[in-house]
Symmetry: C2
């Protein structure tokens, strides 16, 4: 299926130096993909030239005069940079010229702009950020990773629906198992919001596994783990910090003296295989779910391999029709959830 | 300084087989330490005999007829097992016969019993569980690790005071840096409870660093990290799960074929050094803070090396007078916090 992805060519710590080689590779890998590079045309053309590449019907440039910086306040970007590469890339999704957009730019600005331009799906209070963690069984999708610090049980139910449909589409699983992140497996465990969310999930049509604990993320107990953005973001950052520390400890032990260095040289192929298995680039590309359009956020510091994975995610979501699946499932759950509490639906998508 | 520690000899997955060898080693290491082994005297005596050890003025047995099982409901243990090894060990702290107690038993039952028997310190709403995480700089103390799923800003302030005094006493740091676990470093970040807690902490007399993120735990940005028990427990379990997964991945890579196995044999000394650096036994012993007595919880699956570390923690806390320090600091902060909101102090320590 022919699809077009809009890329915020200027976003991230490295801008076109990363986004453009990734785009070129994506086009080479997939001959039914078209890409629109959005940003300062001079910078984009210079990078293309340096890569001995040219525009074509499959690779177009859409000029945008402004760039949102990585530390800019979301509301300021939203109000003052209406011709930013980020905003214009999202506009292309809104107008239907692209079926998805990918950006490595400022997360807060990207979320605020995407919500403002695209609006949320019917039934969704607030969009969530879904990301992938490695697990002993493969990978675990978690949401929300930080868009919503305070969540209601109804919002967490919406996240469960969105995460479930995402995994169903992207991983081709019929009924992904959904876990509710909690501090014990019994139904009575946890804070008030989580207890009420458990009740809603048990009444839903999702494949609800029940409560899961922090270690279940890495065991791969369920395909999807649902939590509020406060817990999700802290879990994400703590995991990054721990993995980094363990990697550093391992390196330090091998660098201790000439003998251990020698051992390290001998074991290098295995250590490389281990490193590649934990490589965060393989898990790059967080999905903004709940919007009327597909938006994928790459890590700001991504290199072109990592950014390419974010493009792949956007392509997969577009081809598998994740928006349609989410909308349909929301309707199914909506019928049921109207009897419970769905009053504040769609109340906050128009700032 | 001569001190006496009461040990719940029956607690944990392995009971006397672990608690008694650890107690014997603790006595050997520290000739100003006395230990009371609490539990079924037959079982204790049998284990002592197997170890060719005997009771002495420094090692006494205090018979208790019941044992709280690892899966028993806390309230049931509290009501129905008044002569359990756990309860009697806590009673010895209450009566002053011991200055601290250590148990590897059921966490919920231990907390419920400790709160019921010892009561909370003046100014403390609810006790918290403080544990140690490894960091790139050494270690980071975190609380709460799961005693309180929902917390008010005032309770989080109390946790900050308790954690700060614990580190001050046990690590001999004058003014430990306290971080508030959040999803961004700016004051405006986070959920409502955390934002209000930040305000209280900025007004406190503690060495408040500001917000810290998940990765700061392992970077060692601050000595103490404060969070509610929901976030703390999920972070703890997720970290355990990730470390376990990484260890397994590393082992799998070395076991892939005869060549990688050979590499693993060559690198074994380094891998062992790495493993020992991450060894959770080194971090065993969580402190129940906010009670009118010292209670240290060992991991249920602890071996005798791990349990010994929990005994060391109890000894350190006793000798350094952590209860007095917490009480004094609570008084200092109380003066200030009465102007803010301290209404619900001591409301819930008598179930």
């Amino acid at each position: 299926m022919d699809i077009t992805v809009a890329i915020d060519a200027m976003g991230g710590d490295h801008g076109p130096h990363v986004t453009i080689p990734a785009a070129l590779k994506a086009l080479k890998d997939d001959d039914q993909l078209n890409i629109v590079l959005v940003g300062l045309s001079d910078a984009i053309e210079a990078e293309l030239k340096a890569r001995k590449a040219t525009t074509s019907p499959r690779l177009r440039i859409h000029h945008a005069t402004e760039v949102v910086t990585m530390d800019e306040q979301p509301q300021s970007a939203l109000k003052n940079k209406k011709d930013s590469s980020m905003r214009v890339a999202i506009n292309l999704v809104k107008s239907g010229e692209a079926s998805a957009c990918v950006s490595a730019g400022n997360t807060g600005a990207l979320m605020a702009t995407a919500r403002f331009v695209l609006k949320t799906l019917p039934g969704i209070d607030r969009p969530a950020i879904a990301g992938i963690f490695p697990s002993q069984k493969g990978k675990t999708y978690i949401l929300d990773l930080g868009a919503n610090a305070d969540c209601t049980p109804e919002q967490l139910l919406q996240f469960a629906v969105m995460g479930s449909m995402l995994v169903s589409c992207v991983e081709h699983k019929e009924k992904p198992a959904v876990g509710l992140l909690n501090i014990g497996s019994e139904d009575i465990k946890g804070n008030e919001v989580v207890k009420q969310t458990g009740e809603l999930l048990r009444k839903s049509h999702l494949n609800f596994y029940g409560n899961v604990e922090g270690n279940d993320i890495f065991k791969g107990t369920t395909d999807v783990v649902v939590c509020d953005g406060f817990v999700g973001n802290i879990t994400l950052k703590a995991s990054e910090g721990l993995a980094q520390m363990m990697g550093r400890f391992l390196a330090q032990e091998f660098k201790r003296n000439w003998l251990t260095k020698l051992m390290g040289m001998v074991a290098m192929p295995v250590l490389k295989a281990f490193k590649s298995r934990m490589d965060p680039r393989n898990y790059n590309g967080a999905s903004f779910l709940g919007l009327r359009g597909i938006v994928v956020k790459s890590h700001g510091g991504a290199d072109s391999i990592a950014f390419l994975n974010a493009i792949h995610t956007a392509v997969e979501e577009s081809r598998s029709g994740v928006l349609k699946r989410i909308t349909e499932q929301l309707e199914i759950e909506h019928i049921q959830s109207q009897q419970i509490a769905f009053a504040n639906t769609n109340s906050s998508d128009n700032e």
